[in-house]
């Protein structure tokens, strides 16, 4: 109760921030995980693996199992390590937010999901955590829940990643059935079997769709820029450093199983290259700093995918190194943009400038991160880029394409580095921009350390080379592999490509305005963009759903009945035809006069009821019919039924007749043109039921039950009227249920008619 009260007050005044303590202790958990992981680094680099878990669903062979090897170790370390800095940053960034507890709840949920995902040692475990990241990402993107844009973006991300998730699930299930186990280790060992299986291609495509949706590859890429609606710590964490890398992780994880085929190579290389290129073009035209960064993330993801398409050791090594590099600088840059946003209230490039004069520390962090992103020595980014070029040239299938794309997108990255790290800080300060203070330490400390790490590792690449890159590389390639990370490789082709990249990048930066004008024109006249297609698809879906619902569930009861009767007729006709034996020859029995009378009374009554134009006549006809049916029962040895039928029919018709004066006279039952249609439908259904009955009658009835009743009625149940004995003894439960029905019907009718049930006499 107390908590609730303060919670609501918290919304009013920003001073009493609830859950402030959470933000203070929030970095502790990821820090602990990081430390534990670091402690095991020597084991991992020695090639050790850990596996632990419990059976989850024994019947299906599913376990909640975790498995740590070089690859999962690398990812886990990135997730927890960057998590620490994001948590520190978020503590300052989110200060005063009324929903802090919610925010950290989601963030932790995500962290758990992400760690579980990369550490999973079982396909279903992997999938479960995969979807947890999807959910928590949805919750985080829609964190500003009152903003329609945030909701839309969150939904878009959710639907696309879930679409991928569902495909992934099917892919994983197929993979497991081919490999014979859900256990990751057994799957990893079954690569040859899987690739030889005819289901290989479907498996590959389904799993790739899953990975591509998550990692925002073409054509599923558009959700990522929209996801920037999330608070900046979220963008820094989920949408650059971790979650979007889940797809990359999956590609790397499945590399030993699914790679080494042409399909893998071509699909990954082309998709990655296309994604990177498209994202590069889009990045250039952004004026929103965060969006520009988002597109460079897309570039990075495309590049990673492109390199993972290859079997070449150099290419894979490039991918892994670049992955690490990217996580450091991108998270830092997002944080910097967050700081700028926080301090100035805008992220628009056109409204910013001159911040370098007041924000001294931020500018250092920004510059360091941007230099790393741009691939300038001696930052880690440089090593990453050199490796990329080396890898590009080593790609077996299409080195020229890969190299060209790599150079182009890297050049764009250089440009964007300039956009982020130079323009806002050193461009002339726009007049309307108020004077800006340096951010508090909580905000700048994380990006500063992260970009500092980029520099440190660049100077001493061995810190990560042996402990992180090599083990992961060995896991992906399936053989022990060594790699030496160096800043200086001597003058070679990669270096020349680097120089080309810088030149291109700088040219683009300088000519940014013209480029943008040109690109804007280009995009305005582009036929569609993916985001619009998405909207169109959703609209189409809604329209289709509305249409089909309007047709099916149209609110008119007669149509419902028509559909039901038609369906029954159709399936019944099908069943009869299918059965094949038509009971057409039938010896018509000789009927005596009273039987003829009963039958005619029944049929005549039915006909009159069907054609009556006045309700009273219809009631009389129904009465005649009731008498006819009762007579049939009576003549054929069922006196009890006959009496009951007569009484019930009479009572009911008396009731109807009593009601009639209160109801309107018959209006025409239907338009004349519909009469033949309805009559035909009725006739067909009636005929089919008759046929079914006749078909049933073909088999002689052998009823031991009846024999039993006849034999035991007197000696055991002490009654001579077998029907009554059945009702009150043999099948008393039916009768019991039946009086309940009658009782309920009566009470229900009374309540319905709005009478209070009477109490005693009035």
């Amino acid at each position: 109760m107390m908590g609730a009260v303060s919670d609501r007050e918290g919304r009013v005044s920003e001073q009493a921030t609830p859950g402030r303590w959470i933000s203070l202790i929030s970095p502790i958990a990821p820090a602990i995980v990081t430390i534990i992981l670091m402690a095991h680094m020597p084991d991992i680099s020695a090639g050790k693996e850990f596996s632990f878990g419990v059976t989850w669903v024994a019947a299906l062979g599913i376990s909640l199992r975790f498995y740590i090897d070089g690859l999962s170790f690398l990812f886990a370390l990135l997730i927890s390590g960057i998590g620490v800095f994001v948590a520190i940053y978020a503590a300052a960034y989110m200060r005063g937010d009324p929903d802090l507890r919610r925010f950290y709840g989601y963030l932790y949920l995500f962290m758990v999901g992400m760690l579980g995902l990369v550490l999973a040692g079982d396909l279903i475990t992997l999938f479960v955590f995969w979807e947890i990241t999807t959910i928590s990402s949805y919750l985080l993107i829609s964190y500003n829940n009152t903003s329609a844009i945030a909701r839309r973006s969150a939904l878009q991300a959710l639907l696309i990643t879930t679409l991928g998730g569902l495909c992934l699930l099917v892919g994983l299930l197929l993979l497991a059935s081919v490999a014979g186990s859900f256990d990751l280790l057994q799957i990893l060992a079954a690569g040859k079997t899987v690739r030889a299986n005819p289901l290989y291609l479907p498996i590959l495509i389904l799993i790739l769709i899953g990975a591509f949706c998550k990692s925002a590859q073409l054509p599923f890429h558009f959700w990522l820029p929209n996801a920037m609606a999330a608070p900046t710590p979220v963008s820094a964490y989920l949408h650059s450093a971790t979650m979007v890398k889940a797809g990359i992780y999956l590609l790397a994880r499945m590399h030993p199983v699914l790679a080494h085929t042409e399909y893998w190579e071509w699909i990954l290389t082309c998709t990655g290259a296309a994604t990177a290129a498209v994202a590069a073009l889009a990045a250039l035209r952004q004026t929103d700093l965060k969006l520009a960064l988002a597109y460079t993330t897309l570039i990075a993801l495309g590049t990673l995918t492109m390199f993972l398409g290859s079997d070449a050791s150099a290419a894979v090594a490039a991918a892994i190194t670049f992955l690490i590099v990217h996580s450091f600088y991108k998270a830092a840059l997002f944080m910097v943009v967050g700081i700028i946003d926080k301090q100035t209230g805008t992220r628009s490039l056109n409204k910013l400038g001159g911040l370098g004069h007041s924000m001294h520390i931020t500018v250092i962090a920004a510059s360091a991160a941007a230099l790393s992103m741009g691939g300038f020595p001696p930052f880690l980014g440089f090593i990453g880029k050199e490796l990329k070029y080396e890898g590009a040239l080593a790609v077996a299938s299409e080195p020229a394409l890969v190299a060209t794309v790599a150079v182009f997108v890297n050049a764009v990255t250089v440009t964007v580095s300039g956009m982020v790290a130079i323009k806002p800080f050193w461009k002339k300060k726009p007049q309307h921009l108020p004077s800006v203070q340096e951010a508090p330490i909580g905000l700048w400390i994380s990006p500063l350390i992260l970009s500092g790490l980029g520099l440190t590792f660049g100077l001493a690449p061995d810190l990560i080379g042996g402990g992180l890159v090599e083990p992961a590389l060995s896991v992906i390639l399936g053989i022990p592999e060594t790699i030496k990370l160096k800043l200086w490789h001597g003058i070679n082709i990669p270096l020349l490509m680097s120089i080309l990249t810088f030149v291109l990048g700088v040219i683009m930066y300088l000519g940014l305005r013209h480029m943008r004008a040109w690109l804007a024109w280009d995009f305005r006249h582009a036929p569609t963009n993916a985001d619009e297609i998405w909207d169109k698809c959703l609209d189409l879906l809604k329209a289709f759903a509305a249409l089909q619902t309007r047709i099916l569930q149209n609110g008119i009861m007669r149509r419902y009945l028509t559909v039901i009767f038609t369906t029954v007729s159709l399936v019944l006709a099908y069943a009869l035809i299918r059965g094949g034996q038509f009971p057409l020859e039938y010896a018509w029995p000789r009927l005596n006069l009273k039987e003829w009378a009963a039958l005619l009374l029944t049929v005549g009554g039915a006909y009159m009821a069907g054609s009556a134009r006045k309700p009273l006549i219809a009631i009389c006809a129904l009465g005649a019919l009731g008498v006819g049916v009762a007579l049939i029962y009576l003549f054929l040895g069922a006196p009890d039924v006959a009496i009951t039928q007569l009484l019930v029919e009479t009572l009911y018709l008396v009731l109807v007749a009593a009601i009639l004066p209160r109801l309107p006279v018959f209006n025409p039952g239907r338009k004349v043109i519909f009469r033949p249609r309805d009559a035909t439908l009725g006739a067909i259904l009636g005929l089919l039921v008759t046929f079914s009955l006749l078909a049933v009658l073909q088999t002689p009835l052998d009823s031991p039950t009846t024999e039993f009743f006849e034999k035991t009625s007197v000696p055991e149940a002490h009654g001579r009227n077998i029907v009554n004995v059945i009702l009150v003894d043999f099948r008393a439960l039916d009768t019991f249920g039946e009086i309940i029905v009658v009782f309920t019907a009566a009470v229900a009718a009374v309540t319905l008619l709005g009478h209070q049930l009477r109490r005693g006499k009035q």
Binding site: A4, R11, W56, V57, A58, A59, L60, R102, V128, E131, T134, Y138, N145, A148, R151, L155, L158, L159, L166, L169, V170, L173, L174, L541, T549, R550, L552, Q553, Y560, V563, I564, T567, V568, V571, L572, Y574, A575, R578, G579, Q581, V696, Q698, T699, L701, P704, T705, D729, F730, R731, A732, L733, D734, G737, V741, T744, A745, V747, A748, T751, L752
Partner: protein, 506 residues
């Protein structure tokens, strides 16, 4: 034993009779109802434990030997259905204490509610075809009464369609049962399994099979027979809809499962083929209907249809895994669906409407309610680690095992559309601001009401969560139940005392 098996319908009936004279006193009547439900839940759990430890149990009513009198049978499927009915009954009766207004209680709400439970439980436990018809009628007439209780205009309108279409189903069912008797000379389901297999009359057997599909199909709301459901489910008080949504259609599915595993020989493939096509169309049309609507309960109502499709799919695939999937799905779905309707009621209470465009703000105003909704909704959409994920997993895996890729595709499309419409509710009713800034908080309603509204919801959400985190036991149970269904030897032995070496087709 025979008494124990009779209790699941005797308790609600006696409770109804006890609540009937007390209906003018809301509190007392509600107490009787909740107490009866608690008793029912306990009984059903005892039955479950007995069945789980000692196998299928049968009881002969009136001590008349098996194919002659009426038999009650509790096998694994029946037992779990009874327990879930007990749970739903208990939660809904608790919820009804605050959701059902005094004048509706005075009209006999609790009696009708209990009779509905009696009908549902009777249907689950009976082993006799005609007795099944009787329980269906009890359930039906009670549902009629509940649906129009209070007699609002919209209720009457929906009620007419509901009554009109369901009466057709009832008559179909009655005719089919009569014809089944005419073909085999028995009404006992176990005996029917033996007798029908011996009948050499494919025309009649086929005709009966489709008649049963139609009759139970209307009850179960499968394509294209589901019209009564969206026409009426949004009209009564939400308590009523919640219990309807949880149990009524599932009774239809339950009887479909019984009919096409126990009564009809499973070599008869064509009913399963019909059901398969129907199931896929049901899944799609239902979820599209949900996508087309913007009213809380209407969306949920269409979802019911879509999920019935999944259940029927499990039956249609006719493999142990698929049937187990159907059983698991049924339990999961009953819990989640009932919960969603209950939450929709509280949402209406707090925001004033069911129309998504007119409400909002619940996320901020009632985090707890949002949490429960999120659990139920995303479980329904099949997200791990919630119960719906395992339900979906079982069915998808069963389809893959049979190389029914088309089925998988439809299931996935349905899954994503389900998510679409669930997140629609989430975004509209919870995330966005209330357009009139009217949204109350749970703190604003009286304390008793708060508990009565939240406890059932929390309990059901807990089940969803637990089933999601620890699905093993229920999956094992479902597999065992499916095994029993596909090899009804044990059922027949329990009922008839015959030891039939069941070979079957699987």
């Amino acid at each position: 034993m025979s008494w124990l098996l009779a209790l699941p319908f005797l308790i609600p009936i006696l409770t109804a009779l006890a609540a009937f004279p007390a209906r003018a006193r809301k509190l007392l009547c509600g107490f009787i109802s909740v107490f009866g439900c608690a008793l029912l839940l306990t009984t059903t759990i005892v039955i479950l434990v007995l069945v789980e430890t000692g196998g299928t149990r049968a009881a002969q009513m009136g001590d008349w030997a098996a194919p002659f009198g009426i038999t009650l049978v509790a096998d694994r499927l029946s037992a779990i259905m009874l327990v879930i009915s007990g749970i739903v009954g208990f939660c809904v009766s608790l919820f009804s204490l605050s959701d059902i207004r005094k004048y509706r209680v005075k009209l006999g709400f609790h009696s009708f509610f209990q009779l509905l439970l009696a009908g549902v439980c009777g249907s689950f436990i009976t082993g006799d075809l005609f007795n099944l018809y009787v329980w269906f009628e009890v359930m039906l007439i009670a549902s009629f009464a509940l649906l129009v209780l209070g007699g609002d205009r919209i209720q009457l309108d929906g009620g007419i369609k509901y009554v009109a279409l369901n009466l057709v189903s009832t008559l179909l069912m009655l005719t089919s049962i009569g014809m089944t008797y005419g073909l085999t000379g028995t009404l006992n389901m176990a005996q029917l399994h033996i007798s029908l297999a011996a009948v050499d009359n494919p025309t009649a057997v086929s005709a009966l099979a489709v008649l049963f599909i139609c009759a139970f199909g209307i009850k179960a709301a499968i394509f294209p027979l589901f019209f009564w459901l969206p026409a009426s489910y949004h009209t009564p008080p939400v308590t009523v809809t919640a219990v309807f949504a949880g149990l009524l259609t599932k009774v239809g599915v339950y009887t479909l499962i019984r009919t096409f595993t126990l009564i009809f020989p499973s070599e008869l493939q064509f009913p399963h083929t019909i059901l398969l096509g129907t199931a896929l169309l049901t899944m799609l049309t239902g979820v599209l209907g949900a996508a087309a609507h913007y009213e809380f309960r209407k969306i949920l109502a269409f979802h019911i249809i879509s999920q019935i499709g999944f259940l029927v799919l499990g039956l249609a695939l006719n493999s142990p895994l698929a049937l187990a999937g159907a059983v698991f799905y049924m339990i999961h779905n009953i819990v989640a669906k009932t919960n969603l309707f209950l939450i929709s009621g509280t949402a209406k209470r707090l925001t004033g409407s069911f129309e998504l465009s007119e409400i909002g703000g619940l996320y901020r105003a009632s985090p707890l309610l949002s949490f429960f909704f999120f659990i139920a909704a995303f479980s329904l959409a099949g997200f791990p680690p919630l119960s719906g994920f395992w339900a979906k997993l079982l069915l998808v895996k069963a389809s893959l095992d049979q190389a029914a890729y088309f089925v998988v595709a439809v299931a996935l499309i349905t899954g994503i559309l389900t998510l679409f419409s669930m997140s629609k509710i989430w975004a509209e009713a919870f995330l966005k601001d209330h357009p009139k800034d009217y949204c109350q908080s749970l703190q604003d309603i009286p304390r008793y009401e708060r508990y009565e509204r939240l406890l059932p919801v929390a309990f059901l959400a807990l089940i969803t969560l637990v089933l999601g985190l620890i699905p093993g036991p229920l999956i094992d149970y479902s597999l065992a139940a499916a095994g029993e269904l596909l090899k009804p030897g044990e059922y027949i032995e329990a009922v008839l005392g015959l030891d039939i070496q069941y070979v079957g087709n699987r």
